[in-house]
Amino acid sequence: MEKQKKGYKRNGIFLLYILLTSAGFGTAVLTNLLVPQNAPVKFRQYILGFSGLQFQIDINDAYRFVLFGLMLIYTSIGIAAWFRKDKRKKYAKNAAFRFALGIALALWDITGTKYQLLPQPFFPGPAQIIEAYLADGAYVIQNTLYSLRLYFVGFSSGVLLGIVTGILIGWFPKVYYWVYPVLKITGVVPAVAWMPFALTMLPTSFTAAVFLIVICAWFPISFLTAQGIQSTPKQNYDAARILGGRQLNLIFHVAIPHAMPDIFTGITTANAMAFTTLVMSEMLGQPGGLGYYINQSKVWSSYYKILAAIVIMAILFSVINFLIGLVQKRLLRWQKGVVR
């Protein structure tokens, strides 16, 4: 008997998956075009300029443009997967969710923009969120870059400091004795509690926020690094010593590689805490950043701008998590179950 092929392996059925993916966003576009506008929403015109060309669009045009963009992206991924058989399974699996996403956008459009069924101004429609980017574009980008800069300076110093402290604690019993209790007691305090001190004692508010992110990353990373170093099996050290390894070799080629999975657990934990600390310190005393932007928008009751900032955070932090995941996968590839 011939073996039954799985659905997505057949070209015809995979085509249906591609269509299903686009159908959701297509519905959202049609909804935006066909459902009459009932609520009194102002559709301002914005002028966009790209290298000499100028477009005049209103926020509904921009929203449909984004939907088209999503449709285009997912269809191209689908077409790429058509030729790469190994990618098909994942694409087919996500098709239903992406369809639902499109339908959800359509429903949101109706309840938010078209009829304004939800209490305003707390629940704007998707087009209004895009309006925030059109109206405030350059300012949003400026604040996003500020957040990014703060995050990278703070988090990378925190990771570095955490790993170094963790290695020292894990390797030298004296350092463990004197530093570990301090770390254990101060480590449980949320970093933002130090904000008043940071703001008064450090020269700029930027360095103050960097300091807060550094200490929030420092505790979990040094704690887990130390744990990873201390749990290195004695036999690994014995083997390394017999093969000619001296102290530095044992630290860098035995203890640290062994601690690497724990170090990454620490980095992942610290990363989530760093996002919180970043946004909170921006809301409480920074001249810029997405947290600052949220605070400023709140004053004017521009909830659509707050949501716009939240959307950027969601995307930005997901990308950062993804990048950390990539580095982790590369450095810990020895833990992977199978050979390629």
């Binding site: 690994n236 010593r241 017999i242 093969l243 000619g244 050979v339």
Partner: protein, 259 residues
């Protein structure tokens, strides 16, 4: 290039988890001849691994002396290779990098890196250079451990039950591999094992140890011609003789209980 190891009147006492004193070794003396294949057998707790760790320099005796080629053993030395029971490979390094570890640790990687391929071939692991330890079988992992120890060109190889966790087919194959390596290198081999057949099959001499306190109860010369036959009558006679030594040793210190 092989070493003579002289052990005289060595005592080693340590405290276990409950602070009880355990006499791991009591007055142990043994001369290991250069290029000899010697096995140390005995039940668990007889101090055979302690003895091997002392020779390696991983541990120090309370009294007595250990010498290698006339020099006192003070610390570990790449001249004495060591193969652990199992799980001593670095899981984060590939087979090739595990084998290369000794060269890197001693700072001679640049000059001697051609040797890596030779040792991979020697233990028959071609094609697995880039596999990680958890991706290969237990027998292969032990061959990696042997190659890793040999790449430092030791004058003596100390093996701590290297085949203890392997199935009998893999074990037999690895024993032959070990003999082959010994014949071509001519280095001194000290094998700790609890397998009597393995000891007879491989060794020139067998040291029998008994526990509580750990001491050498007899040293038996294995005068069978090589290659040896695991089922031959001389082999079986030797086996019977060793078993008798153990029975005799166990029959003596029976504690008496009055109920």
């Amino acid at each position: 290039m092989s070493s003579e190891i002289t052990i005289s009147h060595v005592n080693r006492v340590y405290k276990d988890a409950d602070q009880n004193t355990v006499e791991a070794l009591r007055d142990v003396s043994l001369d290991i001849r250069p290029g000899e294949f010697i096995s140390v057998i005995g039940p668990s707790g007889c101090g055979k691994t302690t003895l091997l760790r002392l020779i390696a320099g991983l541990d120090k005796p309370q009294s007595g002396s250990l010498k290698i080629d006339g020099k006192a053993i003070a610390s570990v030395d790449p001249e004495r290779g060591f193969v652990f029971q199992q799980g001593s490979l670095f899981p984060w390094l590939t087979v090739k990098r595990n084998i290369a570890y000794g060269l890197k640790a001693r700072g001679v990687y640049r000059e001697k890196k051609e040797a890596i391929a030779r040792y991979i071939e020697l233990v028959g692991l071609q094609g697995f250079e880039h596999a990680y330890p958890h991706q290969i079988s237990g027998g292969m992992a032990q061959r990696v451990a042997i190659a890793r120890a040999l790449i430092n060109e030791p004058k003596a190889l100390l093996l701590d039950e290297p085949m203890g966790a392997l199935d009998s087919f893999t074990r037999a194959a690895l024993q032959d591999k070990l003999l082959e390596l010994w014949k071509s290198n001519g280095i001194t081999m000290v094998l700790v094992t609890h397998d009597i057949d393995e000891a007879i099959y491989l060794s020139d001499r067998i040291v029998i140890m008994t526990p509580r306190p750990g001491k050498i109860s007899e040293v038996i010369e294995v005068d069978l011609p090589r290659p040896r036959h695991r089922g031959g009558s001389h082999f079986l006679a030797m086996r019977k003789k060793i078993l008798e030594v153990f029975e005799l040793a166990q029959a003596l210190p029976q504690p008496e209980y009055i109920i």
